[in-house]
């Protein structure tokens, strides 16, 4: 029987925890909260923790568990920059020295800590959003940053090499709040998820960033998504209680070689699987995709984890099935954060099988998935 085993509880935030993000090495977790702070957590001995060799028995799930446990500690608290909820936090992917935080105060702050340094310093404050900023994401190269907000816009920023960022594009094509932005793992594509029920894929056409595709199908707010680690698929989750899997189809050829007119670069996405709205009983806030193990059969696409407002974390197995994709529920963990919403789920990409979750109970939790 597949199950999720609780291995650590990270307590300390004084309000709901909105997002949890791993660094690239998978040894640190950053969280951000309604208490206006961001925190960084790490186990005392990461190598030992992720090898499962803690010495202590894996803990039984205790809904009331509120103490930090499992040898993790909070090594950093950043609480001096934002005047309102910190909604999103992300480690810079290539060096892991910088951290970005996006806040309901409309700003995104970039923090850095010198090796051997005392604390994180604010290197830059990116302003521009007219109201709450909701998500921040670093491109895999670490050169670009994307933010989005309730003002319906997606902003793309470029690093100027000195710790600061220049805004290179403001994309105003969503009709309502943009809830989340996410970079493709390999191609230079950006996905945005919106209160207008659509997902947009953005591409740099040489001149400027523009919409390459608009994915419609969700019947309500799209809260977020996750690319499969190989970049072939996109999973999205929504207030309509469904999970959808999308993949890129080759765009139809635009006439013959003598078409003679400029064609906007477009991509064609198709929905190849939908988890029906009977599985999750309330809005789904977060999804994360763990790739298949090395040596797995070619049709094994890995695992999805979802975090839901019905307090449960669900794990699905994903498999290719011809032109479509099969999604099978393999485990439901009720009350993962007690009787509180689960706001974010994130697989640890460096240590497969380990999942971080965070919720309205003010804690983040580390789980081991046993298939």
């Amino acid at each position: 029987m597949a199950r999720l085993v609780l291995n650590a509880v990270l307590a300390g935030h004084e309000g709901r925890v909105w997002q949890a993000s791993w660094d690239t090495a998978g040894d640190r977790l950053a969280t951000c909260s309604g208490d206006r702070s961001a925190r960084i957590w790490t186990p005392l001995a990461p190598a030992l923790f992720f090898a499962g060799a803690q010495g202590a028995e894996a803990m039984e799930l205790d809904a009331g568990e509120q103490q930090t446990s499992g040898s993790w500690q909070c090594v950093e608290t950043i609480d001096n920059a934002h005047k309102r909820t910190v909604r999103s936090v992300a480690f810079e992917p290539t060096q892991g020295r910088a951290l970005a935080t996006a806040s309901f105060d409309g700003t995104t702050a970039i923090w850095e800590k010198e090796p051997g340094g005392d604390a994180y310093e604010c290197m830059a404050t990116l302003e521009g959003h007219e109201n709450e900023a909701k998500s921040v994401a670093w491109s895999p190269s670490g050169q670009l940053l994307a933010t989005c907000g309730r003002d319906k816009s997606v902003w793309i920023w470029e690093s100027n090499g000195e710790g600061d960022f220049d805004c290179i594009s403001v994309l105003m094509e969503h009709l309502q709040d943009v809830k989340m932005v996410l970079w493709h793992p390999t191609d230079e594509l950006l996905a945005s998820f919106s209160y207008d029920n659509t997902i947009r894929i953005w591409k740099d056409d040489g001149d400027d960033w523009c919409t390459a595709a608009t994915l419609t199908g969700h019947m309500s707010t799209v809260w977020g998504g996750a690319f499969s680690p190989d970049g072939r698929y996109l999973a999205s989750v929504s207030d309509d209680r469904t999970v959808r899997i999308w993949t890129q189809r080759a765009a139809a050829a635009a006439g013959g070689a003598d078409a003679g007119f400029y064609v906007q670069p477009t991509l064609a996405y198709e929905c190849v699987a939908t988890v029906p709205d009977s599985v999750h009983t309330r809005a789904i806030y977060s999804v994360s995709w763990c790739g298949p193990a090395a040596g797995a059969p070619a049709d094994d696409l890995g695992l999805l984890a979802t975090g839901c407002s019905d307090n449960a974390v669900r794990i699905f197995r994903v498999a290719a099935a011809g032109a479509r994709v099969g999604v099978e529920l393999v485990h439901t963990l009720e009350n993962a954060h007690g009787l509180s919403d689960v706001n974010c789920v994130q697989w640890n990409q460096a240590h497969p099988g380990w999942l971080a979750t965070c919720g309205d109970d003010g804690t983040a939790r580390i789980w081991r998935f046993e298939p």
Binding site: G34, R150, Y195, R282, L339
Partner: protein, 158 residues
Amino acid sequence: MNITQKINDAPLVYAVLSQARESSASDMDDSVHDPIDAEEVYELIRSINDPEHPLTLEQLRVTNREHIVVDDGAGRVLIEFTPTIPHCSMATLIGLCIRVRLLRSLPERFKVDIRVRQGTHQSEGDVNKQLNDKERVAAALENTYLLDVVNQCLATAA
């Protein structure tokens, strides 16, 4: 609030039915779990002030006992409220007041869904979506001006 033209200048005011609640022996017994029911939720929201008039939501029949559904075991509450006129622009504010009242009074385990009663508002889809978007509500409650307005409406509901 400083508005010169009220949205609804002449609302219908209804008489308030006071329904005495009979207490039973188990009500006084501390060891018996008292489930939260529609009656209790109604008690919490009936005297919320309307933003425009010195009248309660009960007097304007914006909130009604019959339009509250509570499942104590599952921790779910559904409230439907009826704006006095179909184009009422106060609808979102009224819904927010109801939500804040319950946020401050009900145990945390309750998931509360607030909707405009079907067919009573021309933008009910939009209003419902805003009222049930957790992130939008959280951001709204960090807005001190809006919080002041909400607190004024809730002053009588204590």
